[in-house]
Amino acid sequence: MEPFARLDAVAVPMATANVDTDQIIPARFLRKPRKAGYGQYLFHDLRFDDAGNERPDFVLNQASYRGARVLIADRNFGCGSSREHAVYALWDYGFRAAIAPSYGDIFYGNCLKNGFLPIVLPVDDAAALCDQVRQRPGARVVVDLELQQVIAPDDRLLGFAIDGFRKHCLLAGIDELDFTLRHRADIESFERDQGNATPWL
């Protein structure tokens, strides 16, 4: 996993609640191999018309937001299907962090497993930030995981919370599977106890 570095990047506003992972990547693309890259499928049916041309009104297609690496979303972003391809698509397109009042629980977990930082901010802070980058297309935000803060275009500092373990894994680029394998003895001991207590499992 790629270590999470401090970001100073263009942010894209997406002020729609309950954006589901079917919108982030439609089901028909999920059979593609991971190596093929998923950036082209990100928000595919919102981004492209039936002929495959860019829809000019979709935010990612607007010149000021090209090269964006931070997505500012509304509540329950990434709800619905557990498809991790939603994160692959965001990542391969170039996004490295999202900022929203809340996320679909499974999507939130999937982000952390792929080096992508899902920041939770209070509703008002997220909405204010979204307004700023909408009013000033191309405005940049700074995301500093080490300090657990976002710097808005108007220089306001917005702190955020994240579990210490998650922060550590993201900053160091530690894959949690390697970490868990070090707990092998704990797992074996648990299995022995469980086998005695509930032998039918």
Partner: protein, 471 residues
Amino acid sequence: MSAAGRTLLDKIWDRHAIVQRDDGQTLLYVDRHFIHDGSRRAFEVLGERGLRVRRPDRTFGTPDHYVPTSSRDMAAIDDPDARLMVESVTKNAAAHGVTVFGLDDPRQGIAHVIGPEQGLSQPGMTVVCGDSHTSTHGALGALAFGIGATEVSHVLATQTLWQRKPKAKRITIEGTPAPGVTAKDVILTVIAKIGADGAVGHAIEYAGGTIRALSIEGRLTVCNMSIEAGARAGMVAPDDTTIAYLEGRPYAPKGARWEQAVALWRSLPSDAEARFDSEVSLDATSMAPMVTWGTSPQDGAAITGRVPDPSGIGDLARRAAVSKALDYMGLTPGTALSGIPVDRVFIGSCTNSRIEDLRMAARVADGRKVAATVRAMVVPGSGLVKRQAEAEGLDRIFEAAGFEWREAGCSMCVGMNGDLVAPGERCASTSNRNFVGRQGKGARTHLVSPAMAAAAAVTGAFTDVRALLNG
């Protein structure tokens, strides 16, 4: 949580916590892991690291998302990528010694149908699968939740997951719903009330007389759609209904172990003095058959209602969202829901493809004909559900009425196998998601119960099924 009383969630969680970190992360043991034809990537990760499946005996597989419903023949899959997905689950399972119910096995079906059916999902268990509708298995009194591909590989390799304990929300429903008002209508009412993000970060425990009176099949339908309210898990405390359902199932414990298991299961329900982080109460007697009109499962209304008028919505963001949804759905504000014509009817999915669902739909279809303007299909949730339905003659009722009678799989709920709704077509669907493009690009999905879907098929439009049941 108060030491005085523990919830069902607390009890299951505590039994599975291996390591607890100060920052709130717990290494949680997984009792049961279901894999399917979307699990290919997770096995690739395992292969890249040279790891083996730690507990093949706790892991069960079946192809469901990409399987054809027209036949059981692999050659019926035109798309080579899709065929590879279906083949991969059998191949990977064989390579790791995992039991798989393949296309040629009558036990094949949707993972969330066959887990309970085989007795693989049991009270007190932790159950995971790389699919968001894993919440279904909570109907048996398990803590069951969907995970992503990286988590699937983590479970395959370690039989564990790092998790933060969710908050506990209790939804209590009392009263006997009117005839024709089903478990599907109950859960659509719940989601309409609390919203698509109403239970984010929570596990829901469904309680109250209405839930207690539901069969396991009805509870599976309710728990299935917990994720549509944002809850990763939904659960119902085990009771006599649960125990009677599990007794004698192929993978349920037997003999002395059965007695031992039942004793544990009896101890799992939330203590009377247990405190929940939040509570919601609903009255089932006032519920009606539901239809969704929008592009989120929260957009549900009684069949007696009308398409909402965005101009009457004060919240500007919500007004814009409703306008956009109605535009996509091709609906005019104020239109009565009853009478809106449909093109397609889909009866199936992990929400509503079990034998009781098919019986209810057949009762409505019996002696009637699918409208000439409608194409309708029934897709049983498993090969065994199909067999049971055929033993009861339900297939003949459906076929005589003009429904297509298909093979088991996820089918038109997500369309990965090619069972798609065409752009602009309107579909009455017993599935769980009416998202934009979910059943196919431009498809207009309305979520309903099996009875309501059958009523739409035979009348050609959304209809209050209660009128047909009385007739």
